[in-house]
């Protein structure tokens, strides 16, 4: 390690990507002409030059051990000269120039327990976050819920039988590290109990003015509790954003009885057809039910199938709901409409129905 120290460098940045590009990509960089999806999880990109690049996409799981990564490396060596990549949804992609290698690679991947798919009108991997595996703020686990939901939806990953793409994301708290706020279906961990102030620690760990300032609803005010400067929370004002907890560890919201997940629908990111949309609240609360979260799993299957059976070709979840209207969505999904669905935040008035465009 000593010698490592001598040559200590900083701010040298990541390695240049060119080091990791297969020759066929270097040669055809920026020259791709079109692509075709050959079968689930397999596509070919054809270059102006006629060159063909075959991509095999497999589910990776995201939380993986070094041994698994080494297995990927072996497969890459065996089938594509050691070149591979990962996607923005955390799948692994092997970049082949030999068509003949496609099927053997798929066999090996499936043997390894990594199904191939997710390309085209499919459900791809669920973007997700840390959950109980590594975050202090989590209202639910991330990897566990994702595993259960994808086990159930696997057919939609390995086949292409949907009207369009369906993107699912999960975030284990309102910080939304999964950026779930624009997903066809979002699973969001939520707290439902106001922070419990540990008065013995607040004055040691937190700056009281910052803590009160952190609350968007002004629910926190300074108070002196058994001699110590601390804060008190006006509970009716709290909407459980946990911003106070982020700035002050002495007021955790985590609570087994009241934490759980909410389900959101109809968001999208792409500009294709409809402009990007935020996801909207569908199911306000489902209690955590580890290890398999059966209620969450079936709620999501219900939503996926409802959309799959009713949307027109290309229609994303949100585009479909916009066409039929939200009242029909609630009716068809069997989800009960509640007070919680009605916005009461900053721009609430703009979410009211300001016309007579009603379906009966």
């Amino acid at each position: 390690m000593a010698d490592a120290m001598q040559e200590r460098r900083t701010d040298y940045g990541p390695p240049h990507y060119e080091k990791f590009l297969p020759p066929i990509i270097k040669e055809n960089y920026g020259k791709w002409k079109y692509h075709e999806i050959l079968k689930p999880g397999v596509m070919v990109h054809v270059s102006e030059s006629g060159a063909q690049l075959f991509t095999i996409r497999a589910s990776s799981g995201r939380l993986i051990s070094v041994n698994k990564i080494r297995k990927y490396a072996e497969l890459a060596d065996k089938y594509c000269d050691g070149f591979l990549r990962f996607t923005s949804r955390h799948n692994v992609e092997f970049l082949l120039s030999k068509k003949g290698n496609i099927d053997p690679l798929i066999k090996d991947l499936e043997a390894l327990g990594h199904p191939v798919g997710g390309i085209g009108n499919a459900i791809s991997a669920i973007v997700h976050t840390q959950g109980w595996v590594h975050c202090h703020s989590a209202a639910t686990d991330a990897s566990g819920v994702v595993k259960c939901v994808m086990d159930d939806l696997i057919e939609y990953f390995t086949e292409r039988k949907l009207p369009g793409k369906l993107r699912i994301a999960l975030a284990c708290c309102l910080n939304m590290c999964g950026a779930v706020h624009c997903s066809d279906i979002a699973i969001l961990g939520i707290h439902r109990r106001p922070p419990r102030v540990d008065h013995s620690r607040v004055h040691k760990m937190c700056e009281i003015p910052n803590v009160s300032a952190s609350c968007p609803t002004a629910a926190i005010r300074p108070a002196t509790v058994n001699g110590n400067p601390s804060v008190e929370v006006i509970e009716e004002r709290c909407m459980f954003c946990a911003n106070c907890y982020t700035v002050c560890p002495a007021m955790p919201l985590n609570d087994p009885l009241n934490d759980g997940v909410s389900i959101w629908v109809g968001g999208k990111v792409s500009n294709a057809r409809h402009e990007p949309m935020f996801s909207k609240l569908a199911i306000p609360f489902i209690p955590n039910n580890p290890p398999r979260w059966p209620e969450v799993v079936s709620a999501i299957r219900n939503l996926v199938e409802l959309w799959a059976n009713n949307a027109k070709k290309y229609e994303r979840m949100g585009e479909w709901i916009e066409r039929i209207g939200w009242p029909k969505f609630f009716k068809m999904s069997g989800i009960e409409f509640q007070k919680e669905h009605i916005d009461d935040f900053k721009h609430a008035g703009l979410t009211f129905k300001r016309s007579t465009h009603i379906t009966f």
Binding site: P15, L63, I69, F86, V133, K147, N254, R292, K346
Partner: protein, 404 residues
Amino acid sequence: MADKIPKTPLLDELEKGKWPSFVREIKDAAKTSPMSADLLGQLERSYREKIGHWKHGGIVGVMGYGGGVIGRYSDLPEDFPNVSSFHTMRINQPAGWFYTSEALRQICDIWEARGSGLTNLHGSTGDLVLLGTTTEQLEPIFSELSAIDFDIGGSGSDVRTPSCCCGMARCEWACYDTMAVTYDLTMTYQDEIHRPAFPYKFKFKMSGCPNDCVASIARADMSIIGTWRDKIQVDKAAVKEYADKGMDIKKDVVDNCPGKCMDWDGKELSIANEFCRHCMHCINAMPKALRPGKDRGATILIGSKAPIVEGALLSSVLIPFIKMEPPYQEIKDLVEKMWDFWCDEGKNRERIGEFIQRIGLGNFLEEIGVEPVPEMIAHPRENPYVFYEEYYEEGDEEEEEESN
């Protein structure tokens, strides 16, 4: 060591099913890593108690770096001593997440020796996340990583590790070189990535076209999205082929065009390009027949973020069209002007998007010296509350009208 692996009846349920199992991964790592074994034990406890067992992160890091490491401590250190501290390191991924087997193996060797052996490929910002190690190991890990040319990414109130879609490397629709821009910005802003000095985090995400495959419009303080401003390239023969193969071009393509600028008479596809909204749909639907135009560049959007605490924001248009040529100086100048203003006037933990909302887009543009154009807005104001900055006094000359 295998005997050290705790009983996990609940987690074992998650080894079932067709989707890759993270539990199997942790168990696999646990064979050689006591850390991972305790992680497994603590996680089983969380599953039983329905609550996490991590404490708030403390400040830990490597020499000379202000970010890139997330401190994490167990709140059950007695029961799970090996995860009493369990920090993650965010390693700056290569642009586009391309690797060679060799590079990956080198990282694995380092991490197996000095960490939990568990990773996230990748974190949702885009970093290669090394999941769980102790404070003492941070420095050695860093020096070994630097020996193989991998550097640390961002965390805290700094520039976060930029990321991008694979762009020109593997996509026919890339309107600019996303990976080149990502690499360039990452190298240009090494100091800003490694030393938090902003009111809050700042994220760059680069997508090669409006399909936005890195979701930049939803989760980047600056979203650079490729587009074109001339005609869509049409291969008429190929269009006909789609039709012959049974595609209902009217229903599938024309009727889905948000610009309502396409027409299909059964033989010819015509596009009124001046009304095209560059949404990509027709191109997506007929990749062999249609392609983005030849005069390509990008739209720069600003300000998206998650909801905490004023509500989620989408990025909005700042520069409708810009040519993307190295060294991208125009963009860097713009970025730095924005940073200066944001650093001077922004509140603590106020993202730039929230900052713009607070001070007003018009004022923001004035400060950074960008002319307002209608492409920046969905529609003009609906309320009559205009702040005129000056007014005539009696006896004024006509000339002295308000400056704006």
